[in-house]
């Protein structure tokens, strides 16, 4: 009788390690923030002079996953009749033509410069570091119980001649 060997182990070694992609968690986080940003365009109204041309979202800082996700959103969504335009902004001076300026956490120190450049304009300033909603930003992302949430400073939004719906105010943590 011919002796047979168990060949199983080699098959298992080949088949059983599923590898996680390191980008997945960053992409998921970027998706959450992009959904928030798209929501901001639904609950905030810009002056009529800002309702022509593209709706420009400027990102100050480097986050490839977020930039990519915003661009994916820009392909399928619009703000009224305006197409989205996602811009990488390298200096605060480049923010002046944006409808939304998103200052990433690593670039938080540039908030004051951005505020200076946006005087007299109508832009929503979004930040990503604890406490910045009290220092000039309109909406700030923060983490509470592992969850990504937003805090909203209504007066910081309205000083740029933007109207914010009470629905959005109610869904955010309000900061004065």
């Amino acid at each position: 009788m011919k002796k047979l060997l168990f060949i199983f182990v080699s098959v298992i070694v080949m088949s059983s390690w599923v590898v996680v992609s390191p980008d997945q968690s960053e992409e998921a986080n970027a998706k959450i923030k992009t959904i928030y940003i798209y929501n901001f365009t639904k609950y905030i109204e810009w002056p009529s002079s800002y309702k022509e041309g593209n709706f420009v979202v400027g990102v100050l800082g480097t986050n490839p996953a977020l930039f990519s996700e915003l661009n994916k959103m820009a392909i399928s969504k619009m703000v009224g009749t305006q197409k989205f335009e996602i811009k990488l902004v390298s200096t605060p001076a480049d923010c002046s033509k944006c409808h939304i300026v998103y200052i990433l956490s690593d670039n938080s120190s540039q908030l004051n410069d951005v505020l200076g450049k946006l005087k007299g304009k109508s832009a929503l300033i979004v930040t990503d570091k604890s406490g910045l909603a009290t220092k000039g930003s309109g909406i700030n992302f923060f983490v509470d119980g592992n969850k990504q949430k937003i805090e909203l400073n209504r007066s910081n939004i309205e000083k740029y001649k933007l109207k914010v719906a009470s629905t959005l105010v109610d869904m955010a943590v309000q900061v004065k």
């Binding site: 168990f6 060949i7 098959v11 590898v19 390191p22 968690s25 969504k77 990504q148």
Partner: protein, 295 residues
């Protein structure tokens, strides 16, 4: 080995020659046809012998039947992973063991059962894909039944259960990943299979890691498949559900890490889980460990 078996069979048949009767001659004829390579006639004779009261309770009748069907399997059905003759052979050898408990008879039958059980095991392994996985499960179940018959020591079998549970879980995961909406049940099957492996060995690194990844990917996919139109209340629900899944993933990945702190995949997994739980410091800690081992 074949020669020894033939000698044994020949000896037994010779012994029986003194008490030959009509039914016994069926068994003899089956053996003679087997030797001549006429498997159809061997099968016809031995199948009649097992129906008759004079021979159906004789261990040797069933042993010869097992041998006939084993030969049919080896000659005609080796490439058939669902060979009926192999099963008939196993049933016959098992029956022979239950009737004739003499040392020699048990020894010979066990050798044949082990041989055929091993072919089932290997066919189960060869069927571990998204098409033939049901054959793999069936063959492994039969293998288990016969292997435990001849080697009841559960310790010897434990590793095989773990290996098979992990492997079939991987197949279930592949099916699920191919169609997450339509094949959602396979995600639960994969989890159940990894859980089974962990029941046998809570320190199995493979099962721990993959279980962690299942929950992790489920959480990530929940977020990634969300529409941009989702309102903030619904987005909060998605976040709550994904956080629960990330938290479910964590103990498995932590366990895998404790078992092998230098495994690249585990460090990546932990970094990803903590990032998703918005615990950036811990995420960076594992990212740095990964960078260190990759230097």
């Amino acid at each position: 080995m074949l020669k020894i078996l033939r000698t044994i069979i020949f000896g037994l048949l010779l012994f029986r020659a003194v008490s030959l009767n009509a039914q016994q001659s069926r068994v003899d004829a089956a053996y003679t046809f087997l030797q001549k390579g006429d498997l159809d006639s061997a099968k016809a004779n031995i199948d009649l012998a097992i129906l008759h009261p004079e021979t159906q309770l004789d261990g040797q009748t069933w042993y010869v039947r097992g041998f006939v069907f084993k030969t049919i399997y080896n000659q005609n059905e080796k490439s058939n992973k669902e060979s009926v003759s192999r099963l008939e052979a196993l049933i016959s050898f098992k029956k022979s063991i239950s009737i004739d408990t003499s040392y020699e008879n048990i020894l010979e039958n066990i050798k044949n059962v082990k041989y055929l059980a091993t072919t089932l095991y290997n066919d189960a392994a060869a069927s571990l894909d998204t098409i033939d996985y049901k054959i793999a499960i069936k063959n492994f179940d039969i293998f288990r039944a016969y292997y435990l018959l001849v080697d009841p020591s559960t310790d010897n079998f434990k590793q095989k259960e773990i290996d098979f549970s992990n492997a079939i879980a991987t197949v279930y995961t592949q099916i699920y990943e191919g169609d997450r909406q339509g094949k959602a049940d396979f995600l639960n099957l994969a989890k159940a299979s990894y859980n089974k492996a962990l029941t046998f060995d809570p320190n199995n690194i493979n099962a721990n890691y993959n279980m962690g990844i299942l929950y992790y990917n489920q959480a990530v996919n929940l977020i990634r498949q969300s529409d941009y139109d989702l309102d903030i209340v619904a987005l909060n629900d998605v976040q709550d559900n994904s956080i629960n899944l990330f938290k479910a993933s964590l103990p498995f990945m932590e366990k895998a890490y404790s078992l092998d702190p230098n495994k690249r995949e585990t460090l990546l997994g932990l970094s990803g889980i903590y990032f998703s739980l918005n615990e950036k410091e811990k995420s960076n800690e594992f990212k740095q460990k990964l960078e260190q081992i990759e230097k």
